[in-house]
Symmetry: C2
Subunit: 308 residues, 2 copies
């Protein structure tokens, strides 16, 4: 099963209450593809500048991320600078330099144009649409978006959504997109816009999954040490899609396991700066934490005779 991702590769400068890092590996497609790589090969379409360190490309390749679609253009790589304060749930963007990413026109290599699974990372919905024009209809198309596109490119986003099977949004984005404060109603409204499934990411509170009559409420793994929340949502999507692509089935129990896998990958990523935790993370650790998440959230049937 092939998995293709289009998105950003960046150099991030991050400050948290626990320290700071300058120009470390970042970007939505980077987190996504590294997390997904635990389940099989991932094909990455993105752009970097001349300053992009070879060691990062080497790291991705070693993890099984195929880089034939990673264009290197004259100029500097996309750079983001952000700070997290006491409440790690809120990222404060200090600087954004799009650099070569400003002119990013994703081009899917000819050999990659029949992907089984496609993830459209958080980029301009017009570019997401253009990617869909380049590929034969995949078995599953998932997309991410953000408040900026919802507000400034609503029509284009709605066009893209009609071609998307599954949308990842956080709860604020779901509310904004649907114009509805209740998350359940917002998700139902989004299901009316095209996608047949919506995953509402709620950070440390977990995620909700909606598709037809199916609802799944997932808790996040409770973490005693959160070091750098950057990339958690993209790692969630990466674990989710990597697992789905490897599994091949999309029935409700598989979708539920995919969400749990996504939560587990996200829970590891935030334990260290940048993608550092994924440099040492093993399949055994993923299996172990998945089992622990099941144990942490399990409760038994109610004794019916105790009521009334």
């Amino acid at each position: 099963m092939s998995l293709l991702v289009i998105g950003s590769v960046a150099l991030d400068s991050v400050e948290t209450p626990f320290g700071r890092r300058e120009a470390v590996l970042g970007g939505s497609a980077t987190y996504f593809s590294t997390a997904a790589s635990y389940f099989g090969p991932v094909r990455l379409v993105a752009v970097v500048g001349e300053d992009f360190p070879d060691e990062h490309a080497r790291f991705l390749r070693e993890r099984g991320v195929e880089l034939d679609g990673l264009a290197r253009r004259p100029g500097r790589t996309f750079r983001w600078k952000g700070r997290y304060e006491y409440d790690l749930n809120v990222a404060h963007t200090l600087e954004t330099h799009l650099n070569v990413f400003a002119d990013f026109r994703p081009e899917v290599p000819a050999a990659w144009r029949e992907p089984d699974h496609l993830f459209l990372g958080n980029i301009d919905p017009e570019l997401q649409d253009a990617v869909l024009d380049q590929v034969r209809r995949p078995r599953l198309v998932a997309a991410d978006t953000m408040n900026f596109w919802i507000a400034s490119k609503r029509e284009a986003l709605l066009r893209t959504l009609r071609r998307v099977d599954l949308l990842f949004v956080n709860d604020a984005e779901a509310r904004q997109l649907a114009g509805e404060s209740n998350v359940v109603l917002a998700a139902r409204a989004i299901l009316g816009m095209g996608p047949r499934a919506v995953v509402v990411k709620r950070g440390e509170h977990g995620a909700l999954y909606f598709s037809g009559e199916e609802t799944f409420a997932a808790s996040a793994f409770p973490l005693a040490s959160v070091f750098d929340p950057t990339g958690a949502g993209d790692s969630f999507a990466g674990g989710f899609m990597g697992y789905l692509a490897r599994n091949g089935r999309h029935d409700p129990p598989v979708m539920r396991r995919a969400i749990a896998v996504g939560s587990v990958l996200a829970s590891f990523v935030v334990e260290q700066f940048s993608l550092d935790r994924l440099r040492t993370l093993t399949a055994g650790e993923i299996r172990g934490r998945y089992a622990e998440l099941r144990r942490l959230t399990h409760f038994d049937d109610l004794e019916p005779e105790l009521l009334g």
Copy 2:
């Protein structure tokens, strides 16, 4: 098994995006005892004024709430006025008139001084302490508190906590009490203050339970219609304690079921104004939603061969 609760009985005026109600039945001990009453009798110690309508006392009595400890004093009942806006998670207090509640000195009736289970609602920790002096040590003492007491009566609260088995707090209160932004670490710090268990309530995001090595992460029931969030936390505690008192055991699987029961009761209460939903709620509906919550949160083991 006997269950005793000390707390407030109030007349609330509430405004939400969906309407408003004037001087309806409210108060922490009211929500608690009504929710707990589905599992057996509840003994209520509180105070009301001369204006407290007989119909409210009748309603509580019909639900199995014993009112020998409900003092009626000259003056007016405790009144709270609040508004919820678009984001129903945030209550804005418009007016608080303590009235007879200002001089509340809880007095446990002589026949009630050997409770098996005791819930100290969110009142001055000095009064919580005074209640503990009036009773023979119960099998389980649970307490609630709030930001106001954490800030203004910290020493008294810490004294009370040393006599409490289980503390209910929301995540902001847990952080404030422990001086620690990470909720898991905050809960562990609170376990060092006396309680052997902490329930961190997270509203629509569910709850976390910590006790020794045991951690349980519970999702809330995803609701399409939230009408009035008032009393959700107290109803959660009421369902939790009512179930525990009826069950009699306190082992980890029972505590997990208690949290799920609390979530279910809270999910019903917010569907209508005041306690109105509990006027018609049946044991069958509670059983049904509990089963639905299990179904909504279940996921299977991971296929180990799909990784790596």
